[in-house]
Amino acid sequence: MSDVRVDVAVDVAVVGAGIVGCAVARELSGTGLSVALLEARDDVGDATSKANTAILHTGFDATPGTLEARLVRRGYDLLSSYAVDAGIPVERVGAVLVAWDDEQLDALPKLHAKAVANGYLRGELVDAAEVYRRLPHLGPGALGGLVIPDESIVCSWTSALAFATEAVHRGTTLLLGRRVTGVDVGADATVLRTSAGDVTTRWVVNAAGLGADTIDRLLGHDRFTVVPRRGELLVFDKLARRLVDHIVLPVPTARGKGVLVSPTIYGNVMLGPTSEDIEDRRDTSTTEAGLAFLLGKGRALVPDLLDEEVTAAYAGLRAATEHADYVVDLDAVQRYVVLGGIRSTGLTASMALAEHVAGLLAAHGVDTAPRGGLPPVPRMPTIGEAFPRPYADAARIAQDPEYGRVVCFCERVTRGEIRDALASTIPPSDVDGLRRRTRALMGRCQGFYCGAEVTRLLAAGAAGERS
């Protein structure tokens, strides 16, 4: 797509197809507005939104009174119910904040009170015995805990894809491979200069994640600077899943939420993230020091975890800024909305941010009333372990034997699922995109058995699409 120059004119142009931009495009294309979604990369959800810890936060520990606190809480409810309609996997596994020293133990009642101040009333202080009852494989030394039964795990890949797919079904023009390089604000229209053609629009929504400050400056503002805060993560083999049944959270410090251990929606166990401010906004590499630090933490938290194989190591970059809260603002003169500094809760808050943007626009006289005749919510492929996956679905295999043809053995991905992904509204542009849509190649063998076959199917699918 990216090699064709296309000039487009719309009511709203959303810059950045991360989870936030996709949610905004979905929301606004449900109104009478025409929407374009511009993304520099070749796929949606391909930046920070693909590399996080994928927890659907209740917002119990947000700073009360902030926009973030409000939108995380609202986003939790919105995404929880949307997930049911769209088939996005969510598991309400619950979290236990574990105190390992007296200072942390003292902090727990304060955190409990903070949760109450945030409107979260189901937190429960528990003693060490109860912590170990819930987490029998936890390492020695826990003194007590705070249980947050509603913290959940979610699939961030499917969420972004569902939003983007529904946006496209509702008429959003998805422009992949379009990096915004210049902005000319006129009296009635703004022209976005991109790497492949101009987009003329009335309104601009900046959801460019790590690039949000750059876009903001293109519009003449100077109100925040993004500092990438790198978080390295380790994912352990599914055979480790029995060791961790709940999200194990550390008692938070000023630097963020610290290192957690969590089950993943795909049946693995995740350990991380680290927290390190860096300069290069592209540097998603893991480091010797980061991995060593995580292993040390893992050994203390769940010693048996270290006996299991690591199936992935990666890093994500939080779009941190000098502000403690999200930077969300509407400039009526420029017809411009900025969504900046959505650093460590954006997955959870995404739908609430979208709703908030619609509200800001409505307050400035834009008609954001839902339009009739919207297409049904798209059903996403089942890639979580919460529902039976195609390989285990006898009825489905009987109807279509391609779902009985396992291609990626470790993750049990069938040829039918790969075929479906290639034929979907937003097909993958590379192996990584296919992995996010099907789980192919994300398992313990990393392609030892199936790598050649999976990449062949991808190439054949892409060739089929071209012809």
Binding site: V310, Y314, Y391
Partner: protein
Amino acid sequence: MTPGEVVADVVVVGAGPAGLTAARELARDRRVLVLDRESEAGGIPRHSDHLGYGVRDLRRVTSGPAYARRLVANALDAGAEVRTEATVTGWAGERVLEVTSPQGRLVVRGGAVLLATGARERPRPARLVPGDRPAGVLTTGLLQNLVHLQHRSPGRRAVVVGAELVSWSAVLTLREAGTETVLLATEHERGESYAAVRATARLALRVPVATCTRVVRVIGHDAVEGVELLDLRTGRRRVVACDTVVFTGDWIPDHELARLGGLDLDPATRGPRVDSALRTSAAGVLAAGNLVHPVDTADAAALDGRHVADQVRRWLDLGEPPPRGARIVAVEPFRWVAPSLLVPGAPAPARRRLLLWAEDSRLVPRVVARQDGREVGRRSLPWPVAPGRVFRVPWSLLERADPLGGDVTIGLL
């Protein structure tokens, strides 16, 4: 709808050398069903297209693919049923397997079950090599699938990590694909594999070998641009430019089914713990091949398959309870030993050999077995101990060990 149920005297999981050879032996007088998840039977040799297969079992040297075809034909000729595209995903009961195949979601019930699911190389994440995640990072298995089954080309300059036999197999494949191996890097003090292979390979393939060297970073964002190496002796670091990195060896058994079935694991091999009759801790479930010794040559896996056949028959005829006995434990410089259970009345293992894996080399090894504080056996062996390949020790070393006693350790003097 109810899933189809299939019944056989013996269900073999894995159509590699071990599973196929067992199937051939057993199919003479039993109903044998072999299940493999690949679209073609044969196991790893299918895509390992070079000579070096079949020496001890077929008594001839063939290429991997020819060897695989022969083992499949032998099993079929003997009357075994071999189903491909049949992935065993778990257990539905004792000796009852859940299977996904294009024919449906099946339940397969065996009088006996033989696990022969093989072993794989640890990929980069499992080795915790930092850096970004560019394309161009492979294992030998992936490399050979790409080159031999799909005739695709990896890159131009490769660094091969490891110096086991399989590492040289990777070098051969790279050469065939037109990729230059610019370096073979191993953490060990010597190239692990047979000195002969190494010398010829060095000469014929002109591959520089860096010993005591660890890959500490993969460089490149979208594509591999190089690797950073750490010299373990000097602590010095350097960067070698390349567009392909092949992680070889460093095996782990494909033990998922064994673990899902709750079988006792041997913490050293990471495969199911077996006695010399290749019996696991689950009644009527046996295991053979690289699943229990990661990793030996294909002919050794095949001879396991031959050995296990009689033990399977014995189970079908007598239905004895799972084996109990003294554990056999490898101590330095050995990492693992197989089998690792000494059971009263059990037969000698395949080829009457204990298999061990070493971390270090020793030219004139003296092997010693100890139990309950006493030495129970000692042997001087005329073949060397070397990392990266199996070291074989006569079973008679354990003649005087007590199957009802404490752990038996095996080490070097």
